[in-house]
């Protein structure tokens, strides 16, 4: 939590005003009991009605000042608190949006989302609470003690008794209950876990007719939780009656001691009442401060989660300007590229070299975990190679300015992702000033034209957030159109065709030839049928290149490739393919 305080820096003068206003408010509020004692001692006892009215007016004046102080401090607390939250949110968002994929993967999207919204809210609320209550409590405490001693110095020992009693009881209760809270949280988590399991595994539970088993499991955890909850509650609830006893006890003590001091000085008549109120303020401030123990841990969890994001170092630094001249002809070349996750032992990519040239399609295939997705992510520098060189148009990727490199690449991710807006805004996402002809051409090639034309508003049709109002296949076609519309030097399809049915897949690849004459095309695929016709197929296994060539060549000489093909075809079909591969030699 305290680490986040640095975000308060721009608002330091507002915090100071806040402090001053709070001080003013506390001081004026605390002057009232003393004035009341004056009314009793100087007005009532002496029978001076005038004095009473004058003091009464003074008290009203103080009340108004106190309210003004309170208004000002509330205003600045809200202002600083919300501005603080805004800045933290912006900091998180900026950080996340510039994360490289590696860091992005280390958090889940859902968790990043909670950190940006809920956690910041939590921290904001606690921050405002701190401004409004936590700043007030110590001031109240100190000023009350001073004023109490001033009004009745002989009674000041009562403050010690009261404060000790309050602190003692609060600390005892908290120290008994606090350790149980952890157990409590674990049990709550357990209950949530069982519920979640039963929801996600609904069909399995019912299929095996195990409802009763699950109910028993749940009941066991639930019973445990209930017992613990009763225990915690019974201890916690001691607090209220104890505080009441202590408050009433000290008030009685004040009266008793005050009365016994009357013989010494009759002014104790008024002073003991005022003193009793000051002691109450002292004890209340302690209570307010003990709330900090309850609030801070919760806010700390949120603050910690926020800091986790903020302190991630930026792994990739981009140049302001591209250094060196990239070649005119498109190409992608890997020279002995390694990639290893930080703190991991095994390399994801191990000494990968190849060259993909303009006008040709280079395809990557391999089982999950073979590194094919990682490999293509190195081209737009979503990841940074840990060894070797990645060259785009002859220039190492780290020599590029971000905009220059990204402008060369049309990247289509595995999952078709759209943004809220229109069909038009989605296709023109990377190039807002593209012409409508360009957009329509992209849609036609991506096999999206047919369904777009059928939409009520065609290219102006609304696309919902996350593209939920179009089907999976349509989403994928639009995201392909988006890449085509950019008119890039390099196309990268990261398993982008698997959401399409095989006919659309084939048609799309055929149409794509229209725009890939001078471009490098990189395709990652699962389906052998998608990449059969590629000019160059690179077979990856455990991060190593184990085969490079065309379909039939690889069928003959690359064992891993054979296995992949075999797993997708029946025995007979596989034999047919191999036979064709044999014949291909004579073609």
């Amino acid at each position: 939590m305290f680490k986040l305080f640095r975000f308060l820096k721009p608002y330091w003068w507002q915090v100071i005003i806040l402090l001053l206003a709070t001080g003013l408010q506390v001081y004026t509020t605390l002057r009232l009991p003393a004035l009341m004692a004056d009314i009793i001692n100087n007005g009532i006892v002496t029978g001076d009605t005038n004095y009473i009215w004058m003091t009464g007016l003074k008290m009203i004046g103080l009340t108004v000042i106190s309210a003004l102080g309170s208004l000002v401090s509330s205003y600045f607390a809200a202002r600083v608190g919300t501005n603080f939250a805004r800045d933290v949110r912006t900091a998180i968002f900026t950080k996340v949006i510039n994360f490289n994929l590696l860091d992005l993967k280390s958090f889940s999207t859902a968790s990043l989302l909670t950190r940006t919204t809920n956690d910041v809210n939590q921290v904001q609320n606690v921050m405002i609470m701190i401004f409004l209550i936590m700043l007030r409590a110590p001031l109240f405490l100190v000023i009350s003690i001073i004023m109490a001693i001033q009004t009745a110095p002989d009674m000041s020992w009562i403050i010690l008794v009261g404060a000790a009693a309050i602190l003692g009881s609060a600390i005892t209760i908290i120290s008994i209950v606090m350790p149980k809270f952890k157990v409590f949280q674990n049990l709550i988590d357990k209950i949530t876990l069982i519920t979640r399991e039963n929801l996600t595994g609904l069909k399995v539970v019912r299929a095996f007719d195990n409802e009763n088993l699950e109910k028993t499991k749940f009941k066991k955890a639930n019973d445990k939780l209930t017992r613990l909850l009763i225990f915690i509650d019974r201890i916690l609830e001691l607090q209220n009656p104890l505080i009441n006893i202590i408050f009433n006890g000290t008030t009685l003590l004040c009266s008793w001691v005050g009365i016994s001091l009357l013989s010494k000085d009759f002014a104790y008549l008024g002073n003991m009442t005022a003193f009793a109120q000051y002691v109450t303020f002292v004890m209340m401030s302690f209570l307010m401060m003990s709330m900090l123990f309850v609030m801070l841990p919760r806010a700390n969890v949120s603050a910690h989660r926020i800091n986790e994001v903020l302190k991630k170092p930026m792994r990739i630094r981009w140049r302001e300007k591209t250094s060196g001249m990239p070649e005119k002809t498109a190409s992608v070349e890997f020279k002995n590229v390694d990639f290893i996750y930080p703190e991991a032992e095994e390399k994801i990519l191990d000494n990968v070299s190849f060259k993909a040239v303009a006008g040709e399609t280079t395809a990557f295939i391999g089982s999950t975990g073979s590194g094919k997705s990682t490999l293509i992510n190195l081209v737009p520098r979503f990841y940074e190679a840990t060894g070797g060189k990645v060259l785009v148009n002859g220039l190492p990727v780290e020599n590029y300015a971000k905009e220059d490199l990204i402008a060369k690449i049309g990247f289509v991710p595995q999952r078709g992702m759209l943004f809220a807006g229109t069909v038009r805004s989605n296709i023109k996402f990377g190039v807002p000033n593209a012409s409508d002809e360009q957009m329509k051409k992209a849609a036609r090639i991506a096999q999206a034209e047919n369904f777009i034309e059928k939409l009520p508003d065609k290219y102006n049709s609304h696309v919902a957030q996350g593209g939920t109002n179009v089907s999976g296949g349509q989403k994928q076609r639009l995201s392909i159109a988006r890449a085509i519309c950019k008119n890039p030097d390099i196309f990268i399809f990261d398993d982008a065709f698997s959401a399409l049915d095989m006919r659309t897949d084939a048609r799309l690849r055929e149409a794509l030839k229209e725009v890939t004459n001078d471009t490098v095309t990189l395709i990652v695929a699962q389906r052998v049928s998608t990449i059969k016709d590629a000019d160059q197929i690179i077979v990856l296994d455990n991060g190593k290149v184990v085969g490079k060539g065309k379909h039939f060549e690889l069928l003959k000489k690359c064992q891993v490739y054979q296995e992949i093909v075999k797993s997708q075809l029946s025995e007979a079909e596989f034999k047919k393919e191999v036979a064709m591969a044999g014949r291909a030699k004579y073609d």
Binding site: Y75, R79, L101, I191, K203, S255, P413, R482
Partner: protein, 586 residues
């Protein structure tokens, strides 16, 4: 708070909530009585303390210590009794609320099992989960808080008013006038605050979806250099949120200084006027001291009752969500007496089965087929064609809209659901495993299975060596999201689980993605073993599986468009042939 809950349904669910408390009626009444008692005892304390002052002043300088001592003891007795009663109430309510929470949670879990699967196809898991955790939490904490607070506040309010009136009518009237004014002003402020809080919630919603979109689409943003534009868009919403939430915060914190100023004005008036009254001899000094204390006590229940409305709103919203869930229509109960099949041979017949998720849009139309024992049936078709619907009907997760399915001649609709489900073993793409040991997971379908049985099944499913390689072998803890086993291995485990259950028929969903080639072959091999000699239904993706099937059901847009063997279907030269050729023609 963005959508205002419907008043009527809120009222109905509140009635249900009250009804559900019936079992705890007695404890709650006792708790309320204790609260009232505790408040009453506490009320007299300031009055007696005031009397002490009066005694001291009147008998000064020869202070009557014995009279004072008596009063002091009375005060001690009063506050100890008050505290004891207060704790008694808390003690009882702690049990009531904990037990009630427990009951509600169990009811919800029970309900989960009683609801038709269709409910969960329409509602997200997270929603039910949050009803189970958040809403139950809100309901029970605010419930006991409300019971204690409201009864305490009302007693104090009434008691203090009476006591104040007995001390001085004119002073009381002054204090009473201040209250409605302050309540009115605070009420106005809160209305604005609430308006801005609602606005804050909806702006937060906008921000949320904006951020979610950007985070989940980050790869697209990166591949189009869109980061700066995204930040601009974010900043716009962020600024708006800051503005609205600042207003909400300011207005809600305004209520404190405003009540404060009214309270203090009342306080000052009482001090000054009271002082004058004392001089005039209309009131004793001790009584004015007591009166001042009552004035400050008088305000607390009012602010408390004011804050009650917001807790009450939260409570109502939570109870609505909980009881709305508990009120959802349940699966029709099993036929009683139910029919049963003694020794299942595995003859399954579909009799003119139709089904629609949405009325008027049939997913399966008038489908009939007879599957003889031991037959292997492949269900094929593009994604979204309704293949899983067939499985849902077989397992009676859904009921056909018309027609029926028989097993060995007995309609499944006349059997117990649990009996129907136990006839089938199920291996789905979604490899659900629960948190527990490998052993517990594997014997999930047959709780009586011995470790030897389990090992045999694991060997047959090619997963034994994987389990043995885990740190604690069969006693290793695993879960759905365990990362020490791969997706393919998880599927092997679910196959082994089905084998341990040893059902007469099988339902399989072939998954191909995300599994490496070698595991893929192991899975295929265990599938073979699993279906051997059993009537089985396979949602097939692999052509080898399809070709080896005895019957292929080809689905398209929710209809079974063709059925027959591979050769028959190819000859038909229809949709199946097209599907087949698109992948493997030259």
């Amino acid at each position: 708070m963005t959508n205002q809950p419907n008043k009527k349904s809120m009222f109905a669910s509140f009635k249900m909530f009250l009804k559900s408390l019936k079992g705890h009626r007695f404890s709650i009444i006792v708790a309320i009585l204790l609260t009232v008692g505790s408040a009453l005892f506490g009320l007299f304390i300031p009055k007696i303390l005031g009397d002490m002052t009066t005694i001291a002043v009147n008998t000064y300088p020869n202070i009557d210590w014995s009279a004072l001592g008596g009063k002091a003891i009375l005060v001690i007795i009063l506050f100890l009794t008050s505290a004891a009663l207060n704790y008694g109430q808390a003690f009882i309510l702690a049990v009531v609320s904990a037990k009630y929470t427990k009951e509600v949670r169990e009811k919800i879990l029970d309900k989960i099992f009683k609801l038709p699967i269709a409910y969960f196809d329409k509602h997200q898991y997270g929603d039910t989960l949050s009803r189970m955790s958040n809403d139950v939490d809100v309901l029970t904490t605010s419930m006991s808080q409300e019971i204690a607070d409201v009864s305490m506040s009302i007693t104090i309010l009434v008691g203090v008013m009476v006591l104040m009136l007995t001390i001085s009518v004119p002073l009381s009237l002054i204090s009473f006038i201040v209250v409605p004014v302050s309540v009115f002003v605070v009420g106005q402020i809160m209305r604005y605050a609430q308006k801005y809080f609602r606005e804050q919630q909806s702006t937060l919603g906008v921000l949320n979806s904006e951020v979610e979109e950007d985070y989940s689409g980050e790869i697209v943003i990166k591949s189009n250099s869109y980061e700066d534009d995204a930040l601009d868009e974010f900043t716009k919403v962020n600024d708006k949120l800051t503005k609205v939430s600042r207003r909400a915060q300011i207005f809600s914190s305004l209520s404190f200084p405003v009540t404060h100023i009214f309270t203090n004005l009342g306080y000052v008036a009482v001090c000054a006027l009271g002082g004058v009254f004392v001089i005039e001899g209309r009131i004793s000094i001790g009584n004015i001291q007591a009166f001042i204390q009552y004035v400050s006590q008088f305000n607390r229940p009012i602010t408390e009752i004011a804050s009650t409305t917001s807790t009450l709103q939260a409570l109502l919203a939570a109870s609505e969500r909980i009881f709305e869930f508990l009120n959802e229509p349940e699966e029709e109960p099993d036929k009683n007496p139910a029919k049963a099949v003694d020794r299942v041979r595995g003859e399954v017949e579909f009799h003119n089965v139709s089904f629609s998720y949405i009325e008027g849009r049939p997913v399966i139309k008038n489908f009939s087929a007879k599957i003889t024992p031991g037959m292997k049936v492949a269900i094929v078709g593009p994604t979204g064609a309704g293949k899983t619907t067939m499985i849902n009907l077989l397992m009676r997760f859904y009921e056909p809209t018309s027609g029926y399915i028989t097993v060995d001649g007995v309609p499944t609709s006349e059997m117990k659901r649990s009996d129907v489900r136990q006839m089938f073993g199920m291996v789905l793409q979604d490899t659900w495993l629960f948190n527990g040991t490998v052993e517990d997971n594997l014997k999930y379908g047959n709780l009586l299975a011995s470790l030897d049985d389990i090992k045999r099944a694991a060997k047959a499913s090619n997963v034994n060596h994987i389990i043995e390689a885990l740190p604690k072998a069969y006693h290793s803890e695993i879960s759905e999201d365990s990362d020490n086993i791969s997706a393919g291995e998880k599927q092997l485990l679910t196959i082994a689980r089905a084998m341990v259950a040893n059902p007469p028929m099988m339902i399989l969903d072939e998954a191909t993605s995300n599994v490496d080639t070698r595991t893929e072959q192991l899975i295929q091999d265990s599938f073979e073993k699993l279906t051997l000699g059993r009537t089985s239904f396979v949602i097939a993706h692999r052509l080898s599986t399809i070709r080896n099937s005895d019957l292929i059901l080809v689905m398209r847009d929710g209809n079974i468009v063709e059925q027959g063997t591979h050769e028959e279907l190819l000859k038909l030269n229809g949709f199946y042939a097209e599907l087949y050729n698109s992948q493997f023609s030259e």
